[in-house]
């Protein structure tokens, strides 16, 4: 069967996003050029008779029908809106201009569609084709009832443009039918008979009947040079016909096959009414089923979460619980604990399957499927929502309400998430999956104390010892003492330095990661960066507690760090853990802790660019390609993808990319607290990713995150294809340190 084409290159994706506009924009010059040619042939009178072959009263009927249909259409979203209001308040109206820009880029521009080339192209063809046909219909009504402007070359161009739009839409629909019936694409796993299947066939029928109606009209009028009822009766011209190319072909075929005038009239008339019924039916449907994404999806893009700190995804900075004392419930257990926007998200999902196709949990056989859990909540909202609303209106107790967390959405689904953000990054409608899952975790942890044993042990560990590494034999100052024995003095932060180097628990308490910490410190010292460390005064940044659902513990830990930072006069922070980096950058400001944070790869890229560090090719590694694994919290959540690659390029290392890289990276399996939580079932995520890295032919996996380092270290020992090759896992800083040391040694020789 067909091969799925995925677009990884950001440049190409941008180009394809541009294609969206191009499909539309290309039509205009093409048609205009042809109109110029037509002008030279003198077809100034060309036009068409609206409501040809149709009873006079049909005009009024169509208007009345349109009005009725619009009412039916409007009822759909309004009835859903009532259901969303079961949820809590949430403000999504800030920064309207930024929202409008977003809407242009991702709504009308369909910016995320080309991530999946086939489906994206298919959608663009249908979208632009249908949009032109819709605009064309409105234009025709305006022409017919207000100002007659569709005449001469304008009319011919108009007719050609709409025929081409019809062809585009038909090709798109056929691509969709092929994908559904012959390709049987797994993304359409959750298809529904009416919403998905019937809709496609209906749209195809609307397009085909439209072409046949046009063909009959062209056959009966233009091709025969018949008089049409315009301006009191003018003669039509066969030269006009090719400007409606599809109609021309169908009309000509009908005439040549000897179809009688009566048959053509009858076919035209009956299909016209059928077409009208189907088209208005389709418009009504826009208020209800999957196709309502035209309205609701657009609104959802407009209403997406905007971050004050430039967080890339909704799941990048989780919303805080403002007041624990007055909170009615911690997290989201029942429908009413979600916000209206969260319930709206659930409703706009069209089951396109893009999230699922990229979800590390789903793709390693776990229970979690992002679109699946949305659909489960949607089903329950539809089924129980009206009942809950009625009870609330009457002020009655709601009976037999099912919990969402743990019942409608299973325990494992909630705990399988690694918060990598792949789902949110792919979703064309900007549905915010992670905050919903995290709100449910909060409910399970803080209200129910219901969590996997390993998560409980981790939270207890964090609470009692301020770090997640149970059983470590190191302290936060062990590495400092070790460096001192080597004669390297690690400066302690006292407010006089420019940067605080935030080592993080893993960097201090795990033997393997201590090597990275030492490399970073040596590089910082060599480059003459003014920095200091906190030593024993560091505590967990709070990321694991927050992502394991204990918001209370997170706030305590974050608060403590913010106080330490403020007391010591910290302004700028260097972090080598993307999770700490992310939390300090995007989540501390929620608690009034505003600090400038750089990731070590960013700082080192800058130092190399400034010539303060001079890397050279590393001989011992030369000849073995390196593959760089993008950490989710660096690439996807923070858009930092270039700097680590710049560093590898500066070292002149041969690099190969994994299929899933940059924003499309595949999690190592350790995000969202899963560094310490056992996976529920299926393959281990880090093994899948390690196998992918091994498949590139690389001998070194370069990482920029302490958890990724741990996960790959385990992976290269357990995945046969990696173990056979003796793959090494090194932090970019470790590679850089060797490279710089080599460079210095060469200089002194």
């Amino acid at each position: 069967m067909a091969i799925e084409v995925k677009v990884r290159s950001p440049q190409l994706r941008l180009l394809l996003a541009g294609l969206s506009f191009f499909v539309a924009v290309a039509l205009v010059p093409l048609v205009a050029a042809l109109v110029v040619i037509a002008a030279s042939q003198g077809m100034g009178e060309a036009t068409r008779q609206v409501f040809f072959n149709i009873a006079k009263w049909a005009r009024i009927f169509v208007y009345a029908l349109t009005a009725a249909i619009l009412l039916v259409l409007a009822y759909g979203p309004l009835s859903r809106l009532r259901l969303w209001l079961i949820g809590k308040r949430e403000d999504r109206w800030d920064r309207p201009w930024e929202r409008a820009r977003f809407f242009l880029l991702y709504g009308i521009g369909q910016g995320r569609m080309p991530n999946d080339l086939y489906a994206g192209l298919m959608h663009l063809l249908i979208f632009w084709g249908w949009t032109f046909l819709f605009i064309g219909t409105v234009m025709l009504a305006f022409h017919d009832d207000f100002v007659e402007y569709l005449e001469g070359h304008v009319y011919l161009g108009y007719s050609l443009a709409l025929d081409l739009a019809g062809v585009a839409a038909t090709v798109g629909i056929l691509m969709a039918l092929y994908r559904r019936y012959l390709w049987k694409h797994p993304k359409m796993r959750l298809g529904s008979l009416w919403d998905d299947v019937a809709l496609l066939w209906l749209m195809l029928a609307i397009l085909l009947t439209g072409f046949v109606i046009e063909g009959m009209r062209v056959g009966m009028t233009e091709l025969q040079g018949a008089t049409i009822d315009v301006h009191g009766g003018i003669a039509s011209d066969p030269n006009w016909a090719p400007w409606s190319p599809i109609g021309f072909l169908i009309g000509k075929a009908a005439l040549e096959s000897g179809a009688s005038q009566g048959f053509m009239e009858l076919l035209h008339k009956s299909l016209w009414w059928l077409h009208l019924a189907m088209a208005t039916g389709w418009v009504a449907w826009v208020g209800y089923g999957k196709i309502s994404h035209i309205l609701l999806g657009s609104a959802n893009i407009f209403l997406r979460k905007l971050s004050p700190t430039g967080a890339a995804l909704a799941g990048t900075a989780l919303p805080p619980i403002a007041d624990f004392e007055t909170a009615e419930r911690f997290g989201a257990g029942y429908l009413r604990d979600f916000t209206w926007k969260q319930l709206m998200d659930v409703d706009v999902c069209v089951r396109c399957g893009r999230c699922e196709a990229h979800c590390p949990a789903y793709n390693t056989g776990k229970e979690l499927t992002p679109m699946g859990f949305l659909q489960d909540i949607k089903r329950y909202l539809t089924e129980a929502g009206p009942r809950l609303l009625a009870a609330r209106r009457k002020g009655e107790e709601v009976k037999e309400e099912r919990a969402i967390a743990g019942d409608v959405v299973s325990f494992n689904t909630i705990w399988d998430c690694v918060t990598c953000g792949a789902c949110e990054y792919q979703c064309p409608l900007f549905i915010e999956h992670i905050p919903k899952l995290m709100d449910m975790r909060r409910y399970l942890v803080m209200e129910q104390a219901s969590m996997p044993e390993t998560a409980q042990a981790t939270l207890m560990q964090l609470e009692q010892r301020g770090h997640p590494w149970r059983g470590t034999q190191l302290t936060r100052t062990t590495w400092i003492e070790e460096l001192a024995r080597e004669g390297v003095e690690v400066p302690m932060f006292d407010g006089s330095q420019e940067y605080l180097y935030w080592v993080g628990c893993t960097g201090a308490l795990q033997e393997r990661n201590v090597r990275v910490t030492k490399a970073i410190v040596r590089l910082l010292l060599q480059a003459g960066v003014s920095f200091g460390v906190l030593g024993a005064e560091e505590t967990c940044s709070g990321d694991p507690a927050r992502r394991l659902g204990n918001e209370y513990l997170f706030q305590m830990q974050a608060q403590q760090n913010i106080e330490t930072f403020k007391a010591k006069g910290v302004k700028k922070v260097i972090a080598n853990c993307p999770h700490c980096f992310n939390t300090i950058r995007h989540e501390y400001p929620q608690l009034d802790g505003r600090f400038e944070v750089v990731h070590h790869t960013q700082l080192f890229a800058q130092l190399v660019a400034e010539g303060r560090l001079e890397p050279r090719t590393i001989n011992e590694l030369w000849g073995f390609p390196v593959t760089y694994h993008d950490p989710c919290y660096l690439a996807r959540h923070n858009n930092i993808m270039g700097e680590p690659r710049q560093l590898l390029a500066a070292m002149d290392l041969e690099t190969v990319e994994m299929e899933r890289h940059r924003g499309h990276t595949f999690c190592c399996g350790a995000g969202g607290g899963h560094m310490w939580v056992e996976e529920s079932k299926g393959q281990r995520i880090n093994h899948v990713r390690t196998a992918e890295a091994a498949g590139t032919g690389a001998r070194v996996i370069a990482v920029a995150c302490p958890f990724c380092l741990q996960m790959f270290e385990e992976g290269v020992g357990s995945v046969p294809e990696a173990a056979r090759k003796g793959m090494q896992v090194l932090d970019v800083a470790e590679l850089l340190e060797r490279s710089v040391a080599y460079s210095r040694a060469a200089a002194t020789r």
Partner: protein, 266 residues
């Protein structure tokens, strides 16, 4: 009538303190607390609270009191148990008792338990994870004059009796005892539960009742330790390597065997 369970808890230096940080003052015969490492509730004791909570989950009408003896920092251990779901906390904080051994501890706890009477069940950990002596529970039972069942993996209260599954080396046995009784629990019972946030917040607001020895009608001067610590030190592990020399392999093997026999290893 409500069942009253009394759990005895102790706070200990974190057993997961890295070995490099563990130090003792050999002259004073005391453990020096590792800097920056907070003490934790003794794990077996929180398992005891878990056992009590499970009885309450099963029976409903159960009151759980937590008793501890130690300095003010022990309050944290009591608060943790309250957050888990215990009802009341009592701390016997008397500077005169800070050097107490198991014998004095058991006498003080017994007095506190009697002050909290009526009670039906006393649950302690099988041992505290600092000194690992495992004697306070049985001593308490002796002083209170009630039965004692040790090293439990399951505790149930049925028909006025306590039914206990005891861990043995090769399995377990089921033992019944009349109430009131003392039961000491082991880790086979299962993980202590994770406190719900609301309970943590409630526990933070709850008052822990503080008593001195005098409040219990005891005179510290009359409470004499029976355990005398002779010496306290971290054992040194020495590795000595000796190469067995010889001209032939047979000779080397003979000498090796001779050395092993001398060392009584074979």
């Amino acid at each position: 009538m409500a069942l009253h369970i009394i759990c005895c808890v102790k706070q200990v230096p974190d057993p997961e303190t890295p070995a490099s940080q563990f130090r003792v003052d050999e002259a004073a015969k005391k453990v020096i607390p590792a800097p920056g490492i907070a003490p934790v509730p003794s794990q077996f004791d929180t398992i005891g609270v878990e056992a009590a909570l499970r009885i309450r989950d099963a029976l409903g009408d159960v009151k759980i009191s937590v008793v501890s003896m130690g300095p003010d920092s022990f309050r944290d251990a009591i608060k943790h148990c309250l957050a888990m779901g215990a009802d009341d906390g009592y701390l016997i904080n008397d500077p005169a008792l800070h050097e107490a051994d198991h014998w004095v501890t058991a006498q003080v706890l017994a007095a506190a338990i009697q002050k909290l009477a009526p009670f039906d069940l006393v649950i302690t950990g099988r041992q505290a994870v600092d000194w690992d002596m495992g004697v306070v529970g049985p001593t308490l039972a002796e002083l209170l004059g009630i039965p004692c069942v040790t090293i439990a993996k399951d505790v149930k209260v049925q028909d006025g009796k306590v039914v206990v599954e005891r861990v043995l080396l090769d399995g377990f046995e089921t033992v019944e005892a009349p109430l009131p009784a003392v039961v000491t629990v082991s880790n086979e019972l299962g993980e202590p539960r994770y406190p719900q946030l609301r309970q943590i917040m409630m526990a933070a607001r709850k008052q822990v009742t503080v008593w001195t020895a005098a409040d219990l009608g005891l005179n510290p001067a009359q409470l004499q330790n029976r355990v005398n610590v002779e010496a306290l030190y971290i054992p040194e592990t020495k590795v000595e390597t000796e190469f067995i020399e010889g001209d032939t392999v047979e000779e080397k093997v003979d000498r090796l065997l001779q050395r092993l026999r001398e060392a009584k290893l074979i």
